[in-house]
């Protein structure tokens, strides 16, 4: 799960390094309930306006420009100053709420046209100060294809818009013929395939935040685009800037200061925006920062995960300071079908059956961080229940015992021709995992268990990013087993989880995320069919079928559908957002003293 197509993927990068964001489900409270993992998903009644909240973070946003950002922590901050066509209220599950849009996206029967009507009265912040129109959304998406902006998901989700393929080739941000603006408050996407559902889903990502062409174009012509340093707000907050629009409230790797956007009209927005000011302090050590949050005032976590000791303390004695939110993804250990002995399905099943997945989960904190993963689609996703819910698909006995079963493991080793019930090969297999943090521990536990099963390993531990860029994402590296892989949603649609990982079309020579290099015609067909299905129920059923087929091919050792723990100071009424699995700054407030 690294750099392709998952906004939340970087989260895993950080988690693996022991740095990422965290926490627990401080159930109930003000609650609208429903938020994944028991997080509070609505502000308490009588929440007060005003105050300053400080978000402590270890590192910086990936891009301050909403059109380039592709990272969970960036989204957490940027949804406070960027309003896409659609966005997720804290309690939204599945379908996002209209934001700049005035109602749901209309998808034509054939799935080839998506029409969105927009609200009037939404204005850009200073220095642009004019009303937002559909042309601003059109420009925003077109610039995503500009090489100077290089949005990470524009091609993946808007690639079927007519003219987008050419735009991607030229990469100069020129107009895309398939994005049409019949009037100032309507935008239409004309598609070459019946992928309207995915395009509509992707309109909930920050790329659809309006961008004023007359102001931004000169910045977009620079390489890289300098628009981020002059970004214009549409949300309730803006980054402090001077009269020319140049940001004064952003120092990379140091801090971001958000103040109220004077042009924001609450009547056009569902966000309550209680806080007067939000300061993001970067460079904070996760251990120190977590303690500061727990013991301090007006603080919440940004990109880091509280260390296990603090998590345990908060989960037991300070539950109201903890929010656990379903991440919308999972962690699994990937086999490579192209490298023996994992080209043999029975060996793969034997390994899965023999793995103590509970032990693996303990490396990240145990049961509190989420249920054992049993198939590919996580809880809360369309198709999850149909694919088996909390259970493995029928017949998958190798997934039945999360503590590992030597008997079942031996059965499959024998089926693979190994009469001892253990692996009998003599060649060393290449296993590449993380070298530090909780990821490193998980890799070590996995390696130890593989050795217990009889495997001889060439076990390499490298930094998390190197594990992906030099090894697991590169088929020619011939890594047999990658213990630190995982994947999180871009938005709540099964396609964003299954297609990049298991469709044979997505086997790439570099930056590959189909780690097993699975190219099963039945699975490919199901995925392609599901992608083009507009009806949501039908779509969910097809993806559930694909999930089951995939899981029966034993492509990975699934071990946790994890929850993101987030923490807040005692005087902060923190609200978690189910979409982003982080604290929602637009709904969070300072408690009355």
């Amino acid at each position: 799960m690294l750099m392709r197509r998952s906004a939340l993927r970087m989260l895993l990068v950080l988690c693996a390094g022991g740095l990422a964001a965290v926490v627990i489900a401080a159930c109930g409270g003000g609650g609208g309930g429903g938020g994944g993992g028991n997080a509070k998903t609505s502000a308490p009644s009588g929440a007060q306006k005003g105050g300053t909240l400080t978000v402590l973070a270890n590192a910086d946003v990936d891009y301050i420009d909403c059109g380039a950002a592709y990272y969970q922590f960036s989204y957490q901050i940027e949804y406070a100053y960027c309003r896409p066509l659609y966005s997720y209220k804290p309690q939204d599950k599945g379908v996002p709420s209209p934001d700049v849009a005035s109602g749901p996206a209309q998808i034509s029967q054939d799935g080839k046209t998506v029409t969105v009507h927009m609200k009037s009265g939404i204005k850009f912040g200073p220095p642009v100060n004019r009303e937002v129109t559909s042309k601003d959304v059109k420009y925003a998406i077109e610039r995503g294809f500009n090489k100077n902006v290089a949005n990470g998901y524009a091609g993946a989700y808007f690639g079927d818009v007519q003219g987008a393929a050419e735009a991607a080739k030229k990469a100069d941000g020129e107009p895309i013929s398939g994005i049409v603006t019949p009037d100032d408050h309507t935008i239409v996407f004309k598609l070459t395939e019946s992928t309207g559902t995915v395009v509509a889903g992707a309109l909930g990502l920050p790329l659809s935040t309006p961008v004023p062409e007359e102001y931004a174009k000169k910045f977009d012509q620079q390489n890289p685009s300098d628009y981020g340093n002059h970004i214009v707000a549409t949300g309730p907050y803006m980054i402090q800037n001077d009269s020319s629009g140049k940001l004064t409230g952003y120092e990379p790797m140091k801090n971001i200061t958000l103040v109220r956007n004077p042009n924001w009209d609450p009547k056009t927005d569902y966000r309550p925006a209680y806080l007067d000011k939000i300061i993001v302090k970067e460079g904070v050590d996760p251990d120190v920062g977590s303690r500061q949050i727990v013991d301090g005032q007006n603080l919440v976590n940004g990109d880091f995960t509280p260390p296990p000791a603090i998590l345990k303390q908060v989960a037991t004695s300070k539950k109201d300071q903890l929010l656990l939110i379903d991440s919308g993804g999972g962690r699994f250990m990937s086999f490579n079908f192209k490298v023996p002995p994992f080209n043999d399905i029975n060996v793969r099943k034997a390994v899965i059956a023999g793995m103590d997945r509970n032990a693996l989960r303990l490396t990240r904190g145990g049961e509190v961080i989420g249920p054992i993963m049993q198939h590919q689609l996580p809880p809360g996703f369309p198709g999850f229940e149909e694919a088996g819910g909390q259970n493995p698909p029928p017949g998958a006995d190798w997934l039945q015992n999360p503590n590992g079963s030597k008997t079942v493991s031996a059965k499959y080793f024998k089926a693979a021709g190994m009469s001892s019930g253990k692996y009998e090969g003599n060649d060393k297999i290449l296993v590449v995992g993380d070298d530090s943090g909780v990821g490193g521990r998980a890799a070590e536990v996995a390696a130890s268990q593989l050795q217990d099963m009889g495997f001889k390993l060439n076990f390499r531990q490298v930094p998390h990013s190197t594990m992906y860029t030099k090894f697991c994402n590169v088929p020619k590296a011939n890594v047999a087993f990658c213990p630190n892989t995982g994947w999180f949603k871009d938005f709540i649609d099964p396609q964003t989880l299954l297609d990049p990982l298991f469709n044979g079309k997505n086997i790439l020579q570099e930056n590959n995320s189909n780690w097993p290099q699975m190219n099963d015609p039945t699975v490919n067909k199901l995925l392609d069919q599901a992608k083009l299905t507009v009806n949501r129920d039908e779509r969910a059923k097809l993806f559930a079928q694909a999930d089951q087929k995939i899981t029966m091919l034993a492509p990975n050792v699934p071990w946790v559908w994890d929850k993101q723990p987030n923490i807040a100071s005692k005087n902060v009424a923190a609200v978690g957002n189910s979409f982003n699995a982080t604290i929602d700054l637009n709904f969070t407030s300072i408690k009355q003293q």
């Binding site: 910086d60 290089a150 998901y153 080739k169 990469a171 790797m253 460079g283 050590d285 990013s465 860029t469």
Partner: protein, 322 residues
């Protein structure tokens, strides 16, 4: 003396050239996990874009051509490279962060010199006393304690937000000197103490050893025979001689710290200095920044050593002729 300085300067040029070359080779030729073009291309790069960037930044040229360009930019434009991660010039970023690192390093240096020399003298003079044994024992502890551990312990004990005895500003309290001198001072007390601890211990042992040796020299006996007070004998005659290795060590240590080697202290206390910048660069595989920081650090160390060498030559004329 002039010839000596010229000779040393020529060595500096040779050394810097060697450092530049080795740095370039390490980061540009040896295999690493990061591809600058890919970093620059963003999170979901298509191969075409990566190639275009590689071409634009001349990363597709032969290593020798890249090396020539690198040297030429370095010499003619003082160009330390460009961070593909943050899209900033590395040297600009280094200069932005230098004041914080200087504040940390110089302040800690004052602390460790004061503590180290004082303790060293007392231990040498009161050799084998309880005071000496206690001081040397504690110095071993200070040397052995990892700075990140010491930093965390100091924060959990004394930081005003999370400490058990909340008396000093904790992590994230660094304020630039020009913004508020008082906050600057108070915000750096804990980092100074933590960073200085190990150095103070090493210097104390160094001073003690040298002073004990010096105090047994004939000229010290002569000084005493002349009727000088013990205080004058120690401070004017003994310490003056015993301190020269400390000067030498100081040049190197201070150079290392100013070059960003206070990574752990800056990280634990969230001080936005060069060490913190190095940490971020390492985490993000931002090779141009790592390369720039290494080069800058090497230059700093070489220059400080030059100063130390020249100071040595002034202190001890034998050095010039050796």
């Amino acid at each position: 003396m002039g010839r000596y300085i010229v000779r040393r300067l020529l060595w500096v040029v040779v050394l810097v050239f060697a450092v530049v070359t080795i740095t370039f080779l390490i980061f540009s030729v040896l295999p690493s996990g990061a591809d600058p073009a890919r970093l620059r291309a963003g999170r979901s790069p298509n191969p075409r874009l990566v190639e275009e960037i590689r071409h634009r930044y001349k990363l597709d040229q032969p290593v020798t051509a890249q090396y020539g360009l690198y040297i030429s930019n370095l010499v003619t434009k003082l160009d330390f490279g460009h961070s593909f991660q943050n899209d900033t010039d590395v040297l600009d970023e280094i200069f932005k962060r230098l004041p914080a690192t200087i504040s940390l390093a110089l302040g800690a240096c004052v602390v460790w010199l004061f503590v180290g020399i004082s303790v060293g003298i007392i231990s040498a003079v009161r050799r084998r006393s309880i005071l000496d044994r206690t001081a040397m024992g504690l110095s071993l502890v200070a040397i052995s304690a990892p700075v990140f551990w010491l930093g965390l312990v100091a924060l959990y004990l004394f930081a005003d937000d999370i400490g058990k005895i909340p008396i000093l500003p904790g992590a994230g309290s660094y304020t630039p000197l020009t913004d508020d001198p008082i906050k600057w001072f108070t915000g750096l007390i804990l980092p100074w103490l933590v960073l200085a601890a190990a150095f103070a211990a090493i210097y104390a042992r160094l001073v003690r050893g040298n002073l004990i040796e010096t105090m047994s020299e004939d000229y010290i006996r002569t000084a005493r025979a002349k009727g000088l007070s013990e205080r004058k004998v120690i401070l004017r005659h003994g310490l003056r001689s015993a301190i020269t290795p400390v000067v030498s060590a100081l040049g190197l240590d201070l150079g290392l710290l100013l070059a960003g080697n206070a990574i752990l202290t800056e990280t634990v206390f969230n001080i936005p200095g060069i060490g913190r910048m190095s940490y971020n660069a390492i985490v993000n595989s931002d090779l141009p920044t790592i390369e720039g920081v290494v080069l800058f650090g090497a230059l700093f160390i070489v220059v400080l050593n030059l100063i130390v060498d020249i100071a040595y030559a002034f202190i001890d004329p034998r050095v010039r002729y050796s």
